[in-house]
Symmetry: C2
C-alpha cells in the first residue's frame, strides 16, 4: 500500500533499519501520522494483538478476574495522592487543560496507568473481608509523553495494554497472586508467543513507582544486543491502600488496610515477536498468534486456471474446517513470486502453493516460514501438525538464543566486554546503589535484577561485587535495554 | 458493594430516578468518579458491552472488515480540514495542550470521532481501484465534552464505541454498503439485544457533520416518552475524500475521488437495554447479551446443606456443558431472598433455585425474570429453550411498545398532544426548515426523520404539512429525545 516491498537491511548488521522496514513494509504499523510517537496499528499488527487478547483474556477470567472500564482522565490531585507514583509518572503525562471553550479548573492527566483512578473507586467497593479478593482487569489505551526516541510497538506515546489490579486481605495472599500471575504470563509468553525471557526481580531503584517489589519479564534480542521488558507484575503492598483508604473489616472485626497487586503487558509484545523471531526476509509470527496462519497462493498456468482455483478453494475449506485462520491470495495483479515475498515479510507461518502439477498429483506444496522447508502434501490434516512444529521450533530457537546470550563474568571489565559484544552479563553484586549507578554510567548497561523464579543467591556466596569488590549478595543480569 | 439494594422509584412514575437506581444499585456503573460524566463501567455493565462486541465483531469481519487502531490524538489543524465536521464537533472537544512539562505547539483533540485521523491515513493506503473497497473498524474510547446533563451510558463524556469506515469506488457502492450495514445493525439490535427501533433518514439539519445523508436507529422508551438514538450509518459521499485527497486510479486510468461510509454504535446500547426492557424490580438483560444467563441459588436447610450444594454443582456443570454462562451464588452472608432481589435488579434472565425438596424430587425450580413464571424442571436441557423464549418475549414486548407509541396526526395540535402524552407523533411535512425549527420551539420535540427501510412518501401525497399547511412531501416521526 504505497511503499516498496522488501527489507533493505540485514537483521544482524543494522537491526534498527531492519526492524523499521519490517514493521512498515509488512503492514504492521503506519507511522506517517500527524502526531509523533502515535502510530496507526494496521490490521496485520493489530490482528496479532487481537489474538494475544483472545488467548490471555479467558486465562484471566478463569482466575476470577472481571473486566471493567475506568475513565481515561485522572485529575492531577488524584494522581498526586501516592507521592512516588506521581513523581515517577508526571514527567511523561499528557494534560487536558481545556474542554470545549473553557479552561478546566483542574488539569486532567490522560492515564499513564490506572492505579489512582481505580483505587479511588476500589475503596468504595470494599468494606469486608468477604469482598476480597477483588480482581479487575481492563484492556485500554495508555499515553506516556515520551521524550526518548520512539520506535513502533517498542516505545510509543500511545499504546494498548491490559492492566490487572487485585486486592487481598494479607501480604501473603498478594504475594501468592503475584506468583500465580507470573505463571500465567509465563505460559502466554512462552507457549503462545514462543518468546524466551528472564523473570527478574527489579532492583529497589528500578521497581514500579509505588510498588513493594516488581517482577519483570525481560526478553533479549541478540541482533540488537538489547533487553526488552515485555511484562511486569507488581506487589504493591499497602502503598496505595493507605493513601486511597482501601480498608476492610476482617473476620476479627478489625478494620485493616488491604494489600494489592497490579500486572500488565502491552502492544510492545507485538514488537517483541517481530524483533525476536524475524529473519532477513521479514517477520515470523508464531502460529498461535498469527492473524493468518496459512496463506494459499495459486500458481496460475494458462488454460488451467480453473482447476487451480477449484483446488485452492477446496484446500481453504478443508483448513477452515480444522479451525485454522486461512487466506487465499488470489489477487490477479501480482505474480506468485511477489506474493511469496510479501507474505514472508508479514511472517505468515505457512504458505501453500498450488499449481497445475500439484493438482495433477492430487496435492499441494507446503513451505514453512521458519525453515524454508518445502514438502508435497496430499492431506490437509498434516497442516495443524506442521504449524505445531513451527510453534515449537520458534520457541526452541528463542530459548537457545537467550541461553547463548548470557555470559557469566566476575568484574567490570568482564561486564563491559560482554555488553559490548551485545550480550547479557551475569555477575555478582553487593546490592549498593553506587555500583548500580556506576555500571550504568561506565557501560550504558543496567542491572536488570535478580532471578525471581530461581533462587541463585547461594552462588553469590563468597563472590565479590563486580564493581566495588565488596562481598557479593546477589547474582544479577546486566544488559543494555530499550 | 456499599450502596443499599432496591429500586426506590417506579419506572412509569419517575423514569429518571428508576434508571439511576437500576444502573447504580445493579452494579452496571459507578458514577462516583472525580470527573463528571466519566463513569466507571463496572463488570456487570461492561460485561454486556463485551457480549455485544463478541456478537458484532465476527459479523463485521464476515463482511471483510478488518480491525485496526488509530491514534487518540487529532491535531487541531487536521480536525479543521472538513469545515462542517469541525464546526459540528469543536464545541465538545477535550484539548491536550501540554505534554510533560511543555506547552504543545499545536493543541491535540481527544478523538470525538475518527474520520479525520483515519482518512489522513487512508489517503496513503489507497492508490488503485484494486485497493477498494477498504473496510476498517476500531473499538475505542471516545470523548465529547458534554455541557448537557450526563446520564450513565446514555450521555457520558467518555464512552466506548465501534466505528467502521469504508471506502468505495462509486456513490452506488457506498450506498450499497450503507444498506448492508443497516441490515447488520438491524440484526444485532433486534435478534440479540431484543430492541425495537425505527430506521430513520435524518433531516438535512440533523445529519452527521460531513455526511451526504445519515440513517439512524431510534429506539423509544415509553416510560420516559423519549427517543434514543442507538446507532448511525452515514453516507459520506466525497465530502471527506476531497479535503483528505483519498483518490484512486480507476480501471479507465482516470484518477477519481473515492466515496465513503462510516457507522457506529456505542456503550449507549447498554443503557438502551436497561431502559427498554427493565421493570420495577430492575433490569432485564436479554439472554444473548447477559454476562450471566442463569444464576443458581441454593436454598440451604439445616443439616441438608451438602445435598443441596452437590445438586447445584451438578446443575451448574450441566448448564455449562450446554455452553451457557452460569453463576452459582453460594455466598453465605446473604439470605436467598436477598439474592433473589439482587439478581432481579441486575436483570439475570433466569434464576434456578435448589432446596432440599427440589433435591428430593430430583429437580430444580426455574424462575423467569421477564414474566416471573415459576416451573419445576428435572432436565437441564430445557434451559436453553426457556432462554430462547425469554429472548423472543422481550423482543415482542419491545416491538409492541414501539407500535403502541406511534400515533398518526395531521396538525401541530395533534403533534403537541401526542408528544405531551409521551408518544411519537407520525405526521406529514413539507420539508422546510421553518417547520422543522418551529415544532422544536413549540413542543420541544424534534423531527427525527423519514423511514429509510420503507418508502412512505406515497402516503404524504395530497396531505398538508402539519406545521404550515403547505403541500406535504414526507411522512415524518416527531418525538422528544435524549
Amino acid at each position: 500500500m504505497g511503499e516498496e516491498l522488501g527489507v533493505t537491511a540485514k537483521k544482524s548488521e543494522n537491526f534498527s533499519q531492519w526492524y523499521l522496514d519490517v514493521v512498515r513494509k509488512g503492514g504492521f504499523v503506519d507511522q506517517r501520522t500527524p502526531v509523533k510517537g502515535c502510530d496507526v496499528f494496521m490490521p496485520w499488527g493489530y490482528g496479532i494483538w487481537e489474538e494475544i487478547r483472545a488467548i490471555a483474556d479467558p486465562m484471566f477470567k478463569e482466575r476470577g478476574v472481571k473486566n471493567a472500564y475506568f475513565p481515561l482522565f485522572i485529575p492531577k490531585s488524584l494522581l498526586e495522592k501516592e507521592a512516588k507514583h506521581f513523581e515517577g509518572f508526571v514527567p511523561e503525562v499528557a494534560w487536558v487543560t481545556r474542554g470545549g471553550d473553557e479552561e478546566l479548573e483542574e488539569w486532567l492527566a490522560i492515564r499513564p496507568t490506572s492505579e489512582t483512578i481505580m483505587y479511588y473507586t476500589f475503596s468504595r467497593w470494599i468494606s469486608s473481608y468477604r469482598d476480597l479478593p477483588l480482581r479487575i482487569n481492563q484492556w485500554v489505551n495508555i499515553v506516556r509523553w515520551e521524550t526518548k526516541a520512539t520506535r513502533p510497538f517498542l516505545r510509543t506515546r500511545e499504546f494498548l495494554w491490559q492492566e490487572g489490579h487485585t486486592v487481598h486481605a494479607t501480604w501473603e495472599d498478594a504475594k501468592k497472586e503475584v506468583d500465580e500471575m507470573i505463571d500465567v504470563y509465563s505460559r502466554i509468553f512462552r507457549d503462545y508467543l514462543a518468546l524466551s525471557f528472564l523473570i527478574l526481580k527489579r532492583t529497589e531503584n528500578d521497581k514500579f513507582a509505588g510498588a513493594d517489589f516488581t517482577v519483570a519479564f525481560d526478553t533479549f534480542v541478540p541482533e540488537a544486543g538489547r533487553i526488552l521488558q515485555i511484562g511486569t507484575v507488581h506487589h504493591l503492598g499497602q502503598n496505595f491502600s493507605k493513601p486511597f483508604e482501601i480498608t476492610f473489616k476482617d473476620k476479627d472485626q478489625r478494620v485493616k488496610y488491604a494489600y494489592q497487586t497490579s500486572w500488565g503487558f502491552s502492544t510492545r509484545l507485538v514488537g517483541a515477536i517481530i524483533a525476536l523471531h524475524g529473519d532477513d526476509k521479514g517477520a515470523i509470527i508464531p502460529p498461535a498468534v498469527a492473524p493468518t496462519q496459512v496463506v494459499i497462493i495459486p500458481i496460475p498456468f494458462k488454460g488451467r486456471e480453473r482447476e487451480v482455483v477449484e483446488a485452492t478453494r477446496k484446500i481453504k475449506e478443508g483448513l477452515e474446517d480444522l479451525g485454522l485462520r486461512v487466506e487465499l491470495d488470489d489477487r490477479e495483479q501480482y505474480t506468485p513470486g511477489w506474493k511469496f515475498n510479501e507474505w514472508e515479510l508479514k511472517g505468515v507461518p505457512l504458505r501453500i502453493e498450488v499449481g497445475p502439477k500439484d493438482v495433477e498429483k492430487g496435492g499441494f506444496t507446503v513451505v514453512r516460514r521458519d525453515t524454508g522447508e518445502k514438502s508435497f502434501e496430499t492431506d490437509v490434516n498434516v497442516v495443524p501438525e506442521i504449524l505445531q512444529d513451527i510453534q515449537e521450533n520458534l520457541r526452541e530457537r528463542a530459548e537457545k538464543k537467550l541461553e547463548e546470550s548470557i555470559v557469566t563474568v566476575e568484574d567490570l571489565e568482564g561486564v563491559r566486554k560482554v555488553v559490548e559484544e551485545g550480550k547479557i552479563a551475569r555477575t555478582y553484586w553487593c546490592g549498593r546503589d553506587e555500583c548500580e549507578f556506576g555500571v550504568k554510567e561506565e557501560t550504558g548497561a543496567e542491572i536488570r535484577g535478580t532471578r525471581y523464579d530461581v533462587d541463585e543467591s547461594e552462588e553469590a556466596k563468597g563472590k565479590k561485587c563486580f564493581f566495588c569488590g565488596r562481598e557479593a549478595k546477589y547474582v544479577v543480569y546486566i544488559a543494555k535495554s530499550w
